[in-house]
Amino acid sequence: MLRNDIPITPELVAEHGLKPDEYQRILDLIGREPTLTELGIFSAMWNEHCSYKSSKKWLKTLPTKGERVLIGPGENAGVVDIGDGQAVVFKMESHNHPSYIEPYQGATTGVGGILRDVFTMGARPIAAMNALRFGEPTHPKTHHIVSGVVAGVGGYGNSFGVPTVGGEVNFHRRYNGNCLVNAFAAGLLDADKIFLSEAKGVGMPVVYLGSKTGRDGIHGASMASAEFDDNSAEKRPTVQVGDPFAEKLLLEASLELMASGAVIAIQDMGAAGLTCSAVEMGAKGNLGLELNLDAVPCREPGMTAYEMMLSESQERMLMVLHPHLEQQAEAIFRKWGLDFAIVGQTTDTLRFVVKHHGEVMADLPIKDLGDQAPEYDRPWVEPKKLPVLDPAATRAPEDYRQALLDLLGSPNLSSRRWVWEQYDHLIQGNTVQRPGGDAAVVRVERPNGGKAKGLGFTCDVTPRYVEADPYEGGKQAIAESWRNLNAVGSRPIAVTDNLNFGNPERPEIMGQFVAALRGLGEACRALDMPIVSGNVSLYNETNGVAILPTPAIGAVGLMDDVTKTVGIAFDRDEDVVVLIGDTIGWMGQSSYLYELFGIEEGAPPPVDLAIEKKTGDFVRDAVIAGRLTAAHDLSDGGLLVALAEMAMAGKTGARILLPELDMPLHAFLFGEDQARYVVTASPAEASKLIVDAAMAGVPATAIGAVGGDALVIGEHLNVAVADLRDRHESWFPGYMSGV
């Protein structure tokens, strides 16, 4: 066992991920050499994952306020008012590094962590999503990682009892050495019953709840702040192990305890466990905090203070309780079979004191641990712009039927049914729009009855676009989530961002980050979608190869009447198919070029936010007014893929009549111009809709009619919907079964 008072060598400092100047900062702050436990505490508080030291400067530029925003970034999750005294709580967080090393456990603990963030605030989780990005399918590790991650996400969420209603799955060679697992969770609470981490009152008991502390996950947050190399598998012991059963008990016990009125402050033990949670509670409340580690429930004997302070054992909470309700609180936790121990108290010293076996193992200034963390203005370079591709200069397919089938059967555009059928997406009985459409919709009952509301949920980003132009790609991620929410009839109200990038110490990576955030911020402001929570994951690199820059967005929309929602399925014969928005045939970075020809060239489609706003408002209003029978946003694969998806969902075909084109046909059918939707409506309604669109300055063109069992475009394309489905549904199961 390491003694607490060993000399702190430069090697030891480096092993803790601290740079020499950062260590000097520690010496200056405390005026002496730290103990081993103190060094561990600093390394936990000052790593990238917890301190946001490279990103903070730029995060501050994002719009985080809005009429509905009750709590913005800085707490466990953001809270947004949805009327009737209710609020939605949500956040997205990465668990990338652990998932690459140990896919099943990495994914489970990612899901567990984000659920805990949500119920720590007093909310019962009502929906989960996950944005997953894997290496190319032929890479030797990909199959294993996909299989483990999907099983892990399901294994945890299914058992916990939250519907997993949406998400994204992408494959690209740039994720060969670093997969991304971004987990989103949302919960519901009464707007006047939000629980925070700020401790209040001196001499109040600090209580440890949940599972016991073990030696797992020690230095997990530090691992998540370093690049990978060929020896990364040796980091397996830093991955934690999840127990959804314990989490379910913790949820029920925590909510019961909160309802009892005993809770003053609550913080879950996530990254850097006991250290981060205790420091945060004290620092936010302008209080000191003293921990007595002898009282911490441990899974194994002989754990040192250092180990206890850095353990990332899962399913644990720290609370400050009203002293006179302590016994009542303990009874609730005993009922649920969970550990309950008073492990410390609040003080007025502003010191963070850790005692073990009667000895002081750490005694640090509590505010400085967070406030004085290094903050960097990393050098960055403006990303270079790529030339705009001339659509006429891009390859036309030899056969449109084959091209469409190949696209629908490609790793990135094929059906994700194999994934979401492993997730319980129906539990709680509120799933109104199920996975497979633009956005999921979950019913929210009003507290006093009346027609139910709805919440829309979507995850979006197109990393290829962000790589090609981080600014436009950042805008596009927000714009796509905006469109997906509008298409189901929900008004976008707020977003959470999960910013996955490479090594920020490289100026070109930092340049991607800066430009992408500029784009995100601009789009959020224009579309009135404040960012209320989020997470930054940097150092996603292996042997110097970075991931595609991936600012994943989780967005939430609100419906006043959930029954008004529409899906993407072609529904009734003779309905008119209407293309909304302008098409010029943007081929740069298109799925068509990438999936069919392996080409990643040109500038990605630019996003005109004013047009997105106008178009989105028009479509959403039409959905809510009950004028449409289906609505679908156009994204990967463009118009033809969207039409095929609508046909497959409705098991019904359509006859498409081409308008006069001033671009090559393949650019019209596969171009990925933004701010576009396909909707369907009855013939009478469609005529009126097109007139209203013209009045609103929104381009709208009738391009065909629903009916038959094939998707037909004159002499160019005639393909049975059953054949589309076959190709679309077969890639994923085929790949996973090794066929």
Partner: protein, 228 residues
């Protein structure tokens, strides 16, 4: 219809089930904690889905040894109705109120989707609102729903019309492709000899309102409401 919904640690569809009872009968269910030893005065005891005790050891095995179980047994012996859904079905077989066992899905994966069920016995207290042979839609969500029983038990179940629900396709044909978990004889739900205990893997409680995509699950609760 007075109903009790049992709550074990790790159960997670108790609210869904209680809601179904309330929507159909207008009466709130009693939620009964596993450490109780007496049941309230009810007609139906329902054991919901979930992962009682995390499915550790064996699905339903630990819950089947809870204090409340004796009361459930007595309730069944008195002729009271017992409905076990999903984990509830597993628990009911572990208690011994129904024969057979639920094994890991043949695919070895958890599966959540909508399937078709054929009502093979519409004369029971749980199914009288359905027509004989009716094909209904019903969600499933389980990793261990692969029903198995030995040949003798199976012959009795089949011979006595105690196979109440069977997985089938849209036309009512029982095929391997339409069976989501590999259950023997495509069995989705079975009845005890006396006809007062039903266990089934699918979740009719998640398809009782049009907003949920359909109301095919209502029939089960309406049937119970007629007799209870």
């Amino acid at each position: 219809m007075k109903s009790a919904v049992l709550v074990f640690p790790g159960i997670n569809r108790e609210r869904d089930l209680a809601r179904a009872f309330e929507v159909v009968s207008g009466v709130k269910s009693h939620m009964v904690w596993h450490t109780e030893t007496e049941l309230p005065d009810v007609d139906v005891v329902a054991i919901p889905g979930g992962f009682s005790y995390g499915d550790y050891l064996r699905c339903g095995a630990i819950a089947a040894r809870s204090p409340i179980v004796d009361a459930v047994r007595r309730h069944a012996e008195r002729g009271g109705y017992v409905l076990g859904i999903c984990n509830g079905f597993q628990i009911v077989t572990e208690i011994g109120l129904l024969p057979g066992a639920l094994m890991r899905n043949a695919s070895l994966k958890f599966v959540c989707k909508e399937v078709r069920l054929r009502v093979d016995n519409a004369t029971t207290a749980f199914t009288s609102a359905y027509a004989p042979g009716q094909v209904i839609r019903c969600p499933i969500a389980h990793g261990e729903g692969n029903y198995f029983a030995d040949a003798e038990t199976l012959a009795r179940l089949e011979g006595e019309g105690r196979v109440v629900f069977r997985y089938c396709d849209a036309e009512g044909r029982t095929t391997d492709a339409a069976d989501p978990n590999g259950s023997i004889n495509h069995i989705a739900g079975i009845l005890n000899e006396r006809g007062n205990v039903l266990g089934m893997m699918p979740h009719p409680e998640n398809l009782i309102e049009s907003l949920q995509g359909g109301i095919d699950g209502r029939g089960l609760f309406e049937s119970l409401a007629k007799v209870a």
